[in-house]
Symmetry: C2
Subunit: 517 residues, 2 copies
Amino acid sequence: MRGAEALLRTLVAGRVDVCFTNPGTSEMQFVAALDQVPGMRAVLTLFEGVATGAADGYARVAGRPAATLLHLGPGLANGVANLHNARRAGVPLVNIVGEHAVAHLPYDAPLASDIAGLAGPVSGWLRTTAHVGAIAGDTAAAIAAARQAPGQIATLITPANVTWEECAGPAPAPALAPPPRAADEAVEAAAAALRSGGGTMLLLGGWALQGAALDLAGRVAARSGCRLAGATFFPRQERGAGRAAPERVPYGVADALRFMAGVRRLVLVGARPPVAFFAYPGAPSLLAPADAEIITLARPEEDPADALARLADLIGATAPAPLAPAERPAPPSGRLSPATMARAVAALIPEGAIVVDEAVTGGFPAWQASAGAPPHDWLPITGGSIGIGLPLATGAAIAAPERRVLCLQADGSAAYTIQALWTQAREGLNVTTVLYNNRAYRILELEYRATGSGARPGPQAAQLMRLDRPAIDWAGVARGLGVPARRAETAEELAAAVGAALREPGPQLIEAIIDEE
Amino acid sequence: MRGAEALLRTLVAGRVDVCFTNPGTSEMQFVAALDQVPGMRAVLTLFEGVATGAADGYARVAGRPAATLLHLGPGLANGVANLHNARRAGVPLVNIVGEHAVAHLPYDAPLASDIAGLAGPVSGWLRTTAHVGAIAGDTAAAIAAARQAPGQIATLITPANVTWEECAGPAPAPALAPPPRAADEAVEAAAAALRSGGGTMLLLGGWALQGAALDLAGRVAARSGCRLAGATFFPRQERGAGRAAPERVPYGVADALRFMAGVRRLVLVGARPPVAFFAYPGAPSLLAPADAEIITLARPEEDPADALARLADLIGATAPAPLAPAERPAPPSGRLSPATMARAVAALIPEGAIVVDEAVTGGFPAWQASAGAPPHDWLPITGGSIGIGLPLATGAAIAAPERRVLCLQADGSAAYTIQALWTQAREGLNVTTVLYNNRAYRILELEYRATGSGARPGPQAAQLMRLDRPAIDWAGVARGLGVPARRAETAEELAAAVGAALREPGPQLIEAIIDEE
């Protein structure tokens, strides 16, 4: 059996059975082996940033890793930005990168580069397979590493000769270690904080915003009277009617400082201490009050549900948590603004939907408006590397074909990985994309004010934040890539178009022309 | 004066006066300074791979570096694939990457990453500015490093606080060292090789395929009777009627081995020994005969024209070189194939055109057919990292607004950086793109045969090489991005469309539907 076949059979044995790829010559043995090994779904993308972002979305929904298959250093590099997001989300991902045959490396061929050097900054685990006898074991080790809590990027670099040489066969599925449990002292410290009276906040992050952990956190907050909050960004949150509803730490520094004011004890569950996304002259980096005590109940790699269950026991939080009531706004009318778009989205989210949010300045209003929508999952950008929305939606739809994916996508970010639409068309995915077209990098116009260079950008600066010369016809681009698309210029048109798209199979894009004046 | 303004003034003083960018919050001070500093042209791109590829194209034509301005690690990562191409081409490039403020780094904010780690594999020079007092000097050092022969990528990482703090002012233009001269022994060894009789080949690469170096190489070959060849890939070649016309080393291993058969002495001028792009089971990596003597006349960083002038003197090569005759095919008719497309291109290349070649399997026939076209420059992909064509054409057109750019672009590669079309529209660039739409990664179908897995891919492998499900409407995508486009299904239609586009101002795209059966 060739090394490539052993690699593939080991992946399938380890339940890594979807591979997002754009392969090249050095990966041809892997491609050829796809016809020998049943059980692997290979999904072609037109660009590696789509592949890595889709693998992220797949894992956030499926709860287990997909593989990527990338072509040498440049193919990896194209995927790094979305690997950065996945790394920040604590998402499991088996990242396979082809390399030249070992004997070819001394010749420094044009496509040769330092692949391990490029992979290091985004990889929690990194290995180059040294010889064909190691390929099966390395693949199993990569799966185990990817699934190490909370989830990490395991990069396996496979020289071409290792894929074409003969080996003994695949490895069995690796044993997976359960996530470590929080220390008893941590649970007791959290309980003490909750008993200390006012000024305590329970802050959930990572994988604590779903399932048993979220429910238990709601009970703990109800019993203790503490504030319950979720991190600004997280891999996935279960929310909507009938679920616990933590507040969300705002994005902006001034808003976040106001939000955290009065917090004297901050209990972290899977979250890291809240910090500013960017530094600004004179502004603090840490968003919690400087004198607040920070207590870690569960680190990101520890089991949040277990820690919260023990905490709930300790403080006697047996009563059900208060849950979000079912309430959604009526569909809006009139001009399209972030506010009316938020209402349209909130009015239409189907039960069980997966909402992907890379609407940037448009995303927070949609979040606010949809607190009482039918139960759904929310998947935001996590590492701030734009171009994640369309790929994330693609992977999420492959993980859950029975659910609807509603992708809230800003225009500037959409331009980064617009190629994802083609994969959505190719695979017939049930993704409805709402393209927030404000013809600007609106967030930069806001961020510019913080430079101290005057409230309004000069002409040179302003032109770098505008996407209106020429205006992009997003519906036309989408149709060119195979996705049916239409354009909405009023809230009524938007609601009608989104409603119709959500009832039809396959992907659609609705370009919403936003009037921000 | 703020650090950002000093940086900008130092760039302009050093004749780095075009900047390709997609900035973010950490680069806002640089953006703000654009309105204080005259003389810098900031060109917005929708994706960083466009910015780096355009900077490459600019430098190949202008002969001096452009700057990039990239947003933190992810922005840099998006530009790495085309930086890889630029590195392989020996192209000068000042690569500026924003970083978080130093005081913010310990908080490990979501967008923080190991920027220097990502930059290392593609940078010949790399520095992080330590404090605002160093920013002007570091910028001048980056310009000097970028321009160190043959040209390299100089990456300057600028923490945000360094751009907003006050400093003394800009630095003057750095002194530029001339390229080193080849050793006398190297010139004598080359002369001896040329006098040794048959079996000698003079192989030009790097910057030796233009200007005085190319002309002198033609004279040397004529005088000595040696074969004159150019590397498969190079930053820029001046060619066409009235110019010396070296043969070109073929891409395929079998073709290249045949081409090199009988070579007993290989004299390198700016070229590296020819090696296979990829390794294959049982195939050699070195394409020169194993017993051929390899003599280096001028290393890539040495002055090729100087070395060839001294060699010409030594062997008495005073007579003019034989030059390519003016001859171009009649415009073709009938179905569109790589062969008829090549004839259409050759029939229409305008004098002084810049031809950008990322047509992959379609590029070599176009090269062959256009040997006698009016004088023009040829800019191919250099490092094998696809997605360079449209960005390269963008930068070339900005460097030479008075010339026509003809971009031969394969479909699979076009999908990587299609966003470049928007920048072409925004800047009104005279770029005519011929989109070779064969609805496949045709080169992979050829490469697959080398896997030894059977001549024809199985169904799983085959679907990863086809772009026909759904077929992409490239003309529609181009129009959506603001570039007028039309579609050609016959050779007559193609010739008419390209001819018309070349007479009109601004960018156009002609989608050529190729029938390869």
